[in-house]
């Protein structure tokens, strides 16, 4: 971390802006504005990670925290503004996209409740800050330990080595959590909430043109991030985030998105990351005697193979989360296409 005067000034401004922005997000009453501020907040946090010399996390934060989560939130706010009919049975006559004045779009009042929550939250924040400053030097220097064992890991980038080799158990569980998340969202089947069609009504062709331009670019970018993850910041999660965003763009632009419409390939794609990871982990048990301990000769190839399937799964999971409903089974009645979709643009 640089310690130049400019660096310090930048860091101080950044550190002061974050809590102020967080406060604004929590207190603004218009949900739409809160989501936009949240996206900006995610970008600032990504900047903070860069200042802390953690480019891998910065990449993931910018793509997932600011980008994809922002898109999911906007989707939700839009559905709320349109008056999500269906399960709640509350039907609103066609609203325009503007959420002004809709009670469902505002955070309920409650100044005292907010203050009551603010006190313990600030106390916790202050306690954490004090703890970090007072923290004694750790007895084990993890960074040095990782560096010493890096040649045995099979990849040159320490973050990838930690994620995919030294602590691959954690990553396995994280991927399992992602799978659980999509299962949970699917079980809710929110298709009614947005009227059966997510694509923006085909107005001008500008979005189509951009998506057609971006699709090969993003595929190459995702592949590069995956490949470069062994030597530079990158890896499965970042590549998966880029490809997931591509999936979201394809769905939004109404261009054909067959992987998200066909039942079996989608399910296989979602499960293959976790499945292969688990299988590899158990298979090496037979060779080296410990789950998830890769034999040294096959290190690099196993890591790359696992990262490849992880990327596919993560990308499909993120795009499927955006669509929020499982693809229609062939034996079901045709989906709610009869209802006039209240154009989202």
């Amino acid at each position: 971390m640089q310690t130049t005067a400019l660096g310090w000034a930048f860091d101080i401004v950044l550190a002061l802006t974050l809590p102020v922005l967080a406060w604004r997000i929590l207190t603004t009453r218009d949900l739409y504005r809160a989501v936009i501020l949240f996206i900006a907040f995610g970008l600032l946090v990504a900047l903070s990670w860069v200042r802390l010399d953690a480019p891998d996390i910065a990449l993931a934060e910018a793509a997932l925290g600011a980008g994809l989560t922002g898109a999911l939130f906007l989707n939700t706010v839009g559905a709320l503004a349109r008056g999500g009919s269906g399960a709640e049975g509350e039907r609103r006559p066609g609203n325009s996209a503007s959420p002004a004045g809709e009670p469902v779009d505002r955070v309920p009042r409650g100044r005292w409740m907010r203050l009551a929550l603010l006190a313990p939250a600030s106390a916790l924040g202050a306690a954490l800050g004090w703890a970090v400053l007072v923290f004694p030097e750790p007895a084990i220097d993890l960074a040095r330990r990782v560096d010493r064992n890096l040649p045995a890991a099979g990849v040159e980038q320490p973050v990838t080595a930690v994620l995919l080799n030294f602590r691959s158990y954690d990553t396995l569980l994280e991927v399992g959590v992602l799978l659980l998340a999509i299962l949970a969202v699917w079980s809710l089947d929110l298709r009614d909430l947005w009227g059966g069609r997510l694509a923006l009504s085909k107005g001008t062709g500008v979005l189509d043109g951009l998506v057609r331009l971006l699709t090969p670019v993003m595929i190459v970018c995702g592949g590069y991030l995956l490949w470069a993850g062994t030597q530079q910041p990158g890896g499965a999660f970042q590549a998966g985030a880029v490809l997931g965003a591509l999936g979201v763009l394809l769905v939004l632009s109404g261009l054909v998105a067959p992987p998200l419409e066909r039942d079996l390939p989608l399910r296989v794609g979602l499960a293959v990351g976790f499945g292969v990871f688990l299988t590899v982990g158990c298979a090496v048990l037979l060779v080296t005697g410990t789950i998830l301990e890769y034999p040294p000769a096959l290190n690099y190839y196993l890591i790359l193979a696992v990262e490849l399937v992880l990327t596919v799964s993560i990308a499909l999971t993120l795009a499927a989360l955006f669509v929020t409903a499982p693809p229609p089974r062939k034996r079901d009645a045709p989906g709610p296409d009869a209802r006039e979709p209240e154009g989202s643009s």
């Binding site: 325009s96 503007s98 500008v206 979005l207 951009l210 971006l214 643009s345």
Partner: protein, 92 residues
């Protein structure tokens, strides 16, 4: 260095426009134009400091992508606003 500062100035001007202009369309205009030029200047300034031609190419690619996506996003917002019924501001 001077180029980067000039680029930052453009960003500032664009944000000022965002805050001060009267309606969606003029705000979009100030944002996209000023930010694109600002980013271009920043990229130019960084390119002079960069180590290799690959890095410069990557930065130029990023700039081009921002141009394309910024223009599309502005267009989408504008058409959405038009459809939502927001009227263009006219000087009284």
């Amino acid at each position: 260095m001077a180029l980067i500062l000039a680029g930052a100035l453009f960003f500032l001007a664009g944000t000022l426009g965002l805050l001060r202009f009267p309606d969606v369309y003029t705000r979009l205009h100030s944002l996209t134009k000023a930010d694109n030029v600002g980013l271009g200047l920043v990229v130019l300034g960084l390119a002079l400091q960069a180590g290799s031609a690959t890095a410069v190419l990557k930065m130029v690619l990023v700039w081009l992508l921002v141009l394309a996506s910024g223009a599309t996003a502005a267009h989408l917002i504008a058409t959405a606003a038009l459809r939502g019924g927001i009227r263009v501001w006219r000087r009284r």
